[in-house]
């Protein structure tokens, strides 16, 4: 028995099918990941997700869901299914990162030079 209160689940009529459930285009909603931009030129940062029937509605929902408080100048949405990611078991590819300190950019001393250049430029 399907007792869900969620209209997206009820629409599927899971009780009334003999064969496999086919989902028509637009019948079930997608999940969209939301990225918000705090100021022009800044990176878009991932802030969460919304359910929506298409990208246009996702953007409309995301605007109020994630852009109604604090500063925001733009929002991106992208279908979660379109994002390619590694499997959790592939995490070992990153395991030795912490040992490879020679790849850190922290060893360079440049601030002195920058400050010197700035004072000359004045």
């Amino acid at each position: 028995m399907n007792n869900s209160l969620d209209p997206r689940v009820n629409r599927l009529r899971l009780d009334h099918t003999d064969g496999p459930v086919t989902i028509e285009e637009g019948e079930n909603w997608n999940v969209y990941e939301v990225f918000h931009q705090e100021k022009r030129g800044a990176h878009h940062e991932h802030v969460g997700c919304v359910h929506a029937p298409d990208a246009g509605m996702a953007l409309i929902f995301a605007k109020e869901q994630f852009g109604r408080r604090k500063k925001c100048v733009n929002i991106w949405v992208v279908r979660s299914a379109d994002i390619l990611a590694f499997d959790a078991e592939d995490e070992d590819m990153f395991a030795n990162n912490l040992e490879k300190t020679y790849r850190d950019a922290s060893g360079f001393r440049v601030m002195e030079k920058i400050n010197k250049f700035k004072s000359q430029a004045k």
């Binding site: 359910h51 929506a52 246009g56 409309i60 929902f61 605007k63 109020e64 869901q65 109604r68």
Partner: protein
């Protein structure tokens, strides 16, 4: 009627429309069809109450009006100048969405016309709410198209909602006594001009949604004269219940 009285009448009816539809739409909070829409619709309802507050503040600061809270919560129904469209209960979601669509397009045209208003406080407010209204109509248009494209049931329910809402929405543009005076003073162009523009704008969306405006309707007037449906009194009763327990309390 002098120019200040005409301004008070215009701003009061605008503010009352905003307050009452804002309160009505907020009744969907927690009951929206899905969480995302619940948040969006509630947030826009708050915007509307914000617009009402800003308009009551203009009355207070420039036209010797009372405190906004007192105007909102202490007046009897007969003193309100809102149209009947905004008073009706939320009904089904398609009714509330269609009301939101028709009302927000009307609001957008009204505020757009105020960009050139000779009354500066209205001109400034119009510029301030521009972005909010852009979102409100974007949201409304998207839903109308979405539901009308969703199949026979969606389309026929939206057409029925339009048939119900349209004569009521025409009441937004009930001609006022001082329309000519306000137009003469370049405050705003008057209801008839706004109505023409509104029909053009909503038709642009309705055509895409394959909806048609009902013909031979009688506009529902009376709200601007203080004649209301019984729904308004019940709404005011509930909305002001807490405030009236101690109108002098500070919050």
């Amino acid at each position: 009627m002098n120019i200040n009285q005409a301004l008070v009448a215009l701003i009061t009816q605008m503010a009352d429309d905003e307050l009452i539809i804002g309160h009505r739409n907020s009744e969907w909070t927690g009951l929206g069809p899905i969480m995302e829409e619940d948040i969006a619709f509630s947030s826009m309802a708050q915007d509307k109450i914000g617009h009402a507050w800003a308009l009551y503040r203009i009355l207070q600061e420039h036209l010797e009006g009372d405190d906004p809270d007192r105007i909102a919560f202490l007046r009897p129904a007969a003193a309100f100048r809102c149209c009947h469209l905004v008073e009706l209960p939320i009904g089904s979601y398609e009714f509330s969405l269609m009301r939101h669509f028709l009302f927000d397009h009307a609001e957008t045209i009204r505020y757009n016309s105020l960009y050139q208003s000779s009354f500066m406080p209205l001109q400034q407010l119009a510029r301030k709410v521009k972005g909010e209204l852009k979102y409100h109509t974007l949201h409304a248009d998207a839903w109308i198209l979405q539901l009308c494209k969703a199949g026979e049931e969606g389309h026929s329910r939206m057409q029925a909602a339009l048939n119900d809402c349209f004569p009521l929405a025409c009441g937004i543009f009930e001609p006022g006594q001082a329309d000519a005076l306000l137009a003469e003073e370049n405050i705003y162009p008057g209801e008839a001009a706004l109505y023409e523009q509104w029909i053009e704008n909503i038709n642009r969306v309705l055509r895409k949604a394959e909806l048609t405006l009902p013909e031979k309707i009688t506009p529902v007037y009376g709200g601007r004269k203080g004649q209301h449906t019984p729904h308004l009194e019940a709404l005011l009763e509930e909305m002001g219940e807490v405030f009236r327990q101690d109108p002098a309390a500070t919050w």
